[in-house]
Structure formats: structure tokens, C-alpha cells
């Protein structure tokens, strides 16, 4: 079902709902804390994490930079394995191909394992409209499907639901009352879906990685439902984002090291499956017919764009969600699209050409850089958010008042004398607002700030005003510099000449 309601309104409006939902916020906090600390433990245990991150980044960069070669190689090799490969420029084409296959197979039901791309193209809606049952088999996805909602987290889609809500949903589905006990609820879903797996006409999957050199697709999961979907039904359809390629199985080792540790803190997911074509003639299980639909849907737009090409590095681990201080407060639905969190904030506007509709998402960030620090393939999401903001302004979609404000800012900052004068005037202007050395007025632009804080006042003597005296004071009786310190400074200058020194003492850089 397409959760159309979650895309209505602005990000602020959706966020407001989330901010008032205590259960949601606690659930998000609990989940992200657990996953975040899991990642820390797993990445520390592995060791040399920064080296592996850089490796992952290089492999992805290389693959994307040569995507025409590797994707083509994958297609040729997949075909030689017996796979039917199709290409979809956009969501409509992808759905058309699926429907064509479903029609020819006279399918009555499609059972799905987790696929973000399938949500992106709204395949469930299309299937339902044609009277074909589309069943999600991932436990979390099954729950939100019953609820008619979209995922609120890339890896754990139903964290916004508590056990009572889940029990209610599943009880209704079961036609009997189920206790709000995890084992009982999961047991019910296992039994119910077992039957569905065995009866379904088509199994539909996403694709974590596609190995170019052998035409194999790889799935990572913990429940076993993706294995079921690719083993039991007679026909398999896989939806694959065009950028999901890695060159070789050797490269897969790097991804298999980065992805589970970053996503959930596991050394490896319980199941990792490499599927190379439909069943062999003498196999007694596995699909007889296998289709892979390669989906563009805005991805190729990022190629050749120096500010966004790296976005295609993403391996959909969700680590950025787990560290984002904004996501922590507002949860996944506030982002309005298929993808949430920092990656969603960039991916949704980037994939959609309708920039004006989606780019307020880019404002919902304090640009703290935690996402970049957490990303196993080092995507500079914090920089991409600024790029989105800049493009919005350049295309004339910027907020008019803000634009005027910025022009004023520039005029002021162009000239230091003007700036100093403005500060002096400001000190006078603020007088009626100052109360007990602070400003608490909740009016206009101050409303947002002062709802949660007391605003500071401009100092009586600004630094500029003090400078003359301060300078005189410090030069009056100068302390002699320690010769060791002097030497260090001279060494720095010398290194700089040779180009050896950098003022960045560390930190994550991505030049």
C-alpha cells in the first residue's frame, strides 16, 4: 500500500507530529542507540575501520565511475546464467515490466522480501490494483503493510509501532486474539507466511549487490524470507537499482565486512545468498524462471555531477540514521519519502526531478557531519545537503524573506566599519527587549529560538571595542616566548613551504 499520507505537507508539519509522539521518540532513541553501539563494538572488534572504509569507498567510486562497463558485464553474465534482464528508466517502466510478467504467468499472488526499490516504484499498489495479492514477508514489512504505512527506518521498518499495536494488527489479520508477546506474534507470522511462500506464484526481491564478473546477485538478511522467496516460487523477479554493482566476489568481501557491522553490529547477517541464475535443470528447487529488472529512476542523474555522484556509493546500511541527531527526534516518516534519515534527505530530492517539492527536506539538518563520519563508504552527506540548499536558492525556490535577510547580511559583512556600526546600533535597539541580561520575547524570528531558550544580548563592550586596550595591555610587558615553542612555530612554517603541513590535525576528509 502506498502511504500517501506520509508525503503530504512540509517536513516541519510532519516533524511536529513526530515531536509530539513520545512513544515514537523513545522507540527511535532505543533503536538507534542499540544499533549505534552495536556498530561501534563490531567495527572496533574488526579493527582498522578507517582503512576498510576507504577501501569500500574506493571500490564503490571505481565501480560507479565505470558503471557502463560493469553494469553491461553484469547483464551479459546474468543472461548467460539464464536470467532474463530488463531495463526500466523510471518507476512506471519498472511496474509495467513486472505487470507484464505477472500477467503472462497468470499470477494471483506475489510474495516479497525486503526491497526499498520496490517501495520506491510503488509496486505493491500496482499489483493490488490489478487484483494480484502482494505480500511482504519480512516481519517488519509485513506489519507495516497491514497498517498501511511506509517504513520508518531503512533496516528496522516498524520501530514506530509498539507491541500492543502490532498485536492488534496481527490479531485482526489472524481472526483471533493474539497476546502482545514477541514469540507468539512472530510465530503467527511464520506460520501464516509459510503457507503463502508455498502457494505464491511469483517471488519478488530487491538486491543488495550484483557481481559483475559472474552475473550473480547477492542478498543479505536475518530472517530467511529472502531465501524462501528465491527458493520456493516458480518465478523470481528481482528489482535492482542500477548502481548496486560490485566487480567481483573479492570485492564482495569488503562489502560483507562493512554492511552488517554498520547496519546492526553483526559480523555477518544470518544469511547471505549468492544467486547465479534460475535453477539448474537438475535442481529440484529454486525458480524455473528468473528476471532481474534494472531500475534507473533518477540514479543516472547523479552520474557526472561532481557534487552528487558519490551518492551512488550508498550500500543502504542505515548507519547514518542511527547517528543523526535530527532523525533521533523526528523519526523516519517525517522525511516523507521511501528513504529516511540523512541518506533520505539527499536521495529523495536528488532522485526526483521535482526539486521544489522535496528540497525542504534538506533544511532539516544542523549539518553536524555525524552521517559522514558514520558512513562506511564515506559519502559526504553533510556537504550534499548544503549543495541541495544552494541549488534551491539558485533555481529561485529560496524563501523570499530569507533571501532578503541574506542580502542584508552580505551588505553588512562587506565592510567592517558598517558591521561595527550595525553592532553599535543593535546594542541600542535591543535595550527595550533586554530583561535580566537576556531576551525572552517570543515574537517573529525570536519565537522559535525563545520557545526553548533565553536569547543572549549583544555585549556592552564588543571585542572590537576592547581591542585597543587589550592590545595595549598585552604588548605593554611582553613575555618572552619559550625557545622550544618558537622552534616549533618555525618548523611549521618551514613544513608549510614544502607543502607538508596541514592545519587539519585529523578528522575525516574526503579529498
Amino acid at each position: 500500500m502506498n502511504p500517501a499520507s506520509s508525503t503530504r505537507g512540509t517536513v516541519k508539519e510532519r516533524a511536529d507530529i513526530a515531536l509530539n509522539d513520545d512513544f515514537l521518540r523513545n522507540a527511535v532513541r532505543f533503536t538507534t542507540d542499540r544499533l549505534r553501539s552495536g556498530k561501534k563494538v563490531a567495527s572496533t572488534e574488526h579493527g582498522n575501520w578507517e582503512e576498510w572504509r576507504e577501501r569500500g569507498r574506493q571500490i564503490r567510486l571505481h565501480t560507479i565511475a565505470h558503471l557502463d562497463y560493469y553494469l553491461n558485464l553484469f547483464v551479459e553474465n546474468a543472461r548467460s546464467q539464464g536470467v532474463h534482464v530488463h531495463f526500466a528508466d523510471n518507476a512506471v517502466e519498472a511496474t509495467d515490466i513486472v505487470m507484464t510478467i505477472a500477467r503472462h504467468k497468470e499470477a494471483q499472488s506475489v510474495i516479497k522480501s525486503k526491497s526499498m526499490v520496490s517501495e520506491e516504484v510503488h509496486i505493491n499498489q500496482a499489483l493490488e490494483l490489478s487484483g494480484i495479492e502482494a505480500i511482504e514477508s519480512d516481519l517488519g514489512e509485513y506489519i507495516i503493510q497491514l497498517a498501511g504505512e511506509g517504513p520508518s527506518h531503512i533496516v528496522i521498518p516498524a520501530i514506530h509501532k509498539n507491541r500492543y499495536q502490532i498485536a492488534e494488527l496481527l490479531s485482526e489479520d489472524a481472526g483471533e486474539t493474539l497476546e502482545p508477546d514477541t514469540t507468539i506474534l512472530a510465530g503467527y507470522v511464520r506460520r501464516k507466511l509459510r503457507q503463502k511462500f508455498l502457494e505464491a506464484d511469483i517471488g519478488m526481491t530487491g538486491c543488495n549487490f550484483a557481481i559483475a564478473e559472474t552475473g550473480s546477485m547477492v542478498l543479505f538478511e536475518n530472517e530467511g524470507n529472502a531465501r524462501m522467496v528465491t527458493t520456493v516460487p516458480k518465478t523470481q523477479i528481482t528489482l535492482m537499482g542500477m548502481e548496486r554493482i560490485v566487480p567481483s566476489w573479492a570485492d564482495l568481501e569488503v562489502m560483507a565486512t562493512l554492511l552488517p557491522r554498520s547496519a546492526t553490529g553483526q559480523r555477518l547477517t544470518m544469511y547471505m545468498s549468492g544467486i547465479s541464475g534460475p535453477k539448474r535443470t537438475t535442481d529440484a528447487d529454486g525458480p524455473e524462471e528468473m528476471h532481474i529488472i534494472i531500475v534507473d529512476n533518477g540514479r543516472s542523474q547523479q552520474l557526472g555531477d561532481p557534487e552528487f555522484q558519490e551518492l551512488l556509493n550508498c550500500i543502504r546500511c542505515g548507519a547514518c540514521l542511527n547517528v543523526c541527531p535530527v532523525y533521533r527526534q523526528i523519526g523516519g516518516h517525517s522525511y516523507g519519502g521511501t528513504y529516511s534519515g540523512p541518506i533520505g534527505a539527499v536521495l529523495t530530492p536528488a532522485l526526483n526531478k521535482n526539486v521544489a517539492e522535496w528540497d525542504d527536506i534538506a533544511s532539516a539538518s544542523s549539518l553536524c557531519g555525524a552521517c559522514y563520519e558514520a558512513c562506511p563508504v564515506k559519502i559526504p552527506l553533510h556537504d550534499m545537503l548544503v549543495s541541495l540548499r544552494r541549488r534551491k536558492v539558485e533555481r529561485g525556490h529560496g524563501d523570499k524573506l530569507e533571501a532578503i535577510g541574506m542580502k542584508g547580511f552580505a551588505t553588512l559583512m562587506a565592510n567592517s566599519k558598517r558591521f561595527a556600526l550595525a553592532m553599535r546600533l543593535g546594542k541600542i535597539a535591543q535595550k527595550p527587549l533586554v530583561h535580566n541580561k537576556g531576551i525572552t520575547l517570543k515574537l517573529g524570528p525570536l519565537k522559535g529560538w525563545n520557545t526553548y531558550r533565553v536569547a543572549p544580548i549583544l555585549a556592552d563592550h564588543s571585542f572590537r571595542d576592547q581591542w585597543k586596550e587589550l592590545s595595549a595591555e598585552t604588548t605593554a610587558q611582553p613575555t618572552t616566548i619559550d625557545p622550544a615553542v618558537q622552534k616549533r612555530m618555525e618548523q611549521v612554517l618551514a613544513d608549510r613551504q614544502k607543502g607538508k603541513h596541514t592545519s587539519r590535525t585529523g578528522g575525516v576528509s574526503h579529498e
Partner: protein, 221 residues
Amino acid sequence: MVRLLAAHGIQLDFPPVQTCCGQPSYNSGYWDETRTAARTILKAFQSSDFVVSPSGSCTYMIHHYPELFKDEPEYLTLAHELESKTYEFTQFLVKVLGITDIGAAFPYKVTYHPSCHGSRLLGIKDEPIALLNHVQGLELVPLPFAEDCCGFGGTFAVKMADISGAMVNEKVDHIKETEAEVLVGLDMACLMNIAGNLRHRGEQVRVMHLAELLYEGVNIR
């Protein structure tokens, strides 16, 4: 900061033509306006060997200058130079001057909030801790979820006020958990944000910039 460095024989100069590093307009996507402000910075420090700033985010902003001025060759050269010679205060003290013990005494319970730009993007992690560890009598208590953003983010605090408010509320909740008397940090923007919320909630925690704390600590002796 000026006095602290003077006490170690470093005379700071303050070129008055500088106005603002331009971060607010840069982050909101107004890059032309940013360049206007940035040019004052580039002009101000042309002849300096070392440029020190009491703000990690301003220092980091300067690393964006080469990108901003890629189409203006003269300013581009200045930008590269400035990038290589600008330091955040604790970076300068510890990495350039090699000073970790500034000779301060500050017998209070203190907790430290590492500002985002400084810690993540400039790599300032050890320097402030080294300085704090050498302050006599200071009890440094770790801040839970210290690395989480305080919610300022410049115009974010105004544009997305409720989200920002929720973030600073949580930051102050964690500060309260430490039962510290003083919150110390490296960036006035963060500190102002947190202080504003502390005041709003009637909390007595004192908010200080590390330079302030060290200076007071030196004068206590």
C-alpha cells in the same frame, strides 16, 4: 584567548577589516553573499603567518574557501594560503605550540561538549581533553552522548526551531545527568545555544568557552 597566548609570548593581532567567515549564508545556500563576507577575511589575513580562531566552525568554514573562490584566481590563492595557516585555538596551543599544561587551576566539576565541526571535520579530539586533564583540581566527567549535535546548526535553530529545541533539550538533559557545575566547549555558537536553554529551564550550570576557563584558571593561582 588573547591574554592566554600573550602570557606565552604570542602577541595576537586583530585585523579590523574582517567581518564574518560567512558560514550562516554558506550553509543556507547563499554563496554569493558568502563570498562578500569571505573576501574581508581573505584580505584581513594576507600577511599573517598564523591565524587563530576561538571557533571550530569558523575555522572549518575557511576550508570551504578554495571551493568558493575557484573561479577567482587571486582570491583562490589567498584561500589556499589561509586554509593552510588557520588553526582553532586548542589546535594551535597543543599541535603548534606544544603546550598542554597552561598552568591553570580550576577546582570544579566540569563536563565537555565537543562541537561538531571541530571534532568531526577538523579532527579536534585529543587537544581539548589534554588541556583539561592538565588543569589542577578539575574533575572532568564524561558527557553522555557527548558527540551528538547540540541543535544549533545556524539558521537551522530558527528555521526548524522545534527540532532544534528538542535537540538542545536532550543535550541539557544529559548535562544535568553529569551533575557538573560547568559546561565547557570550543564554540560560542554551541555554548550560546546550550546556555540559552539552561537559562530557560532555570538551571545553574555555568557555561564557559575553554579559553575562558583556562584564563580564569590561570588567574586563580
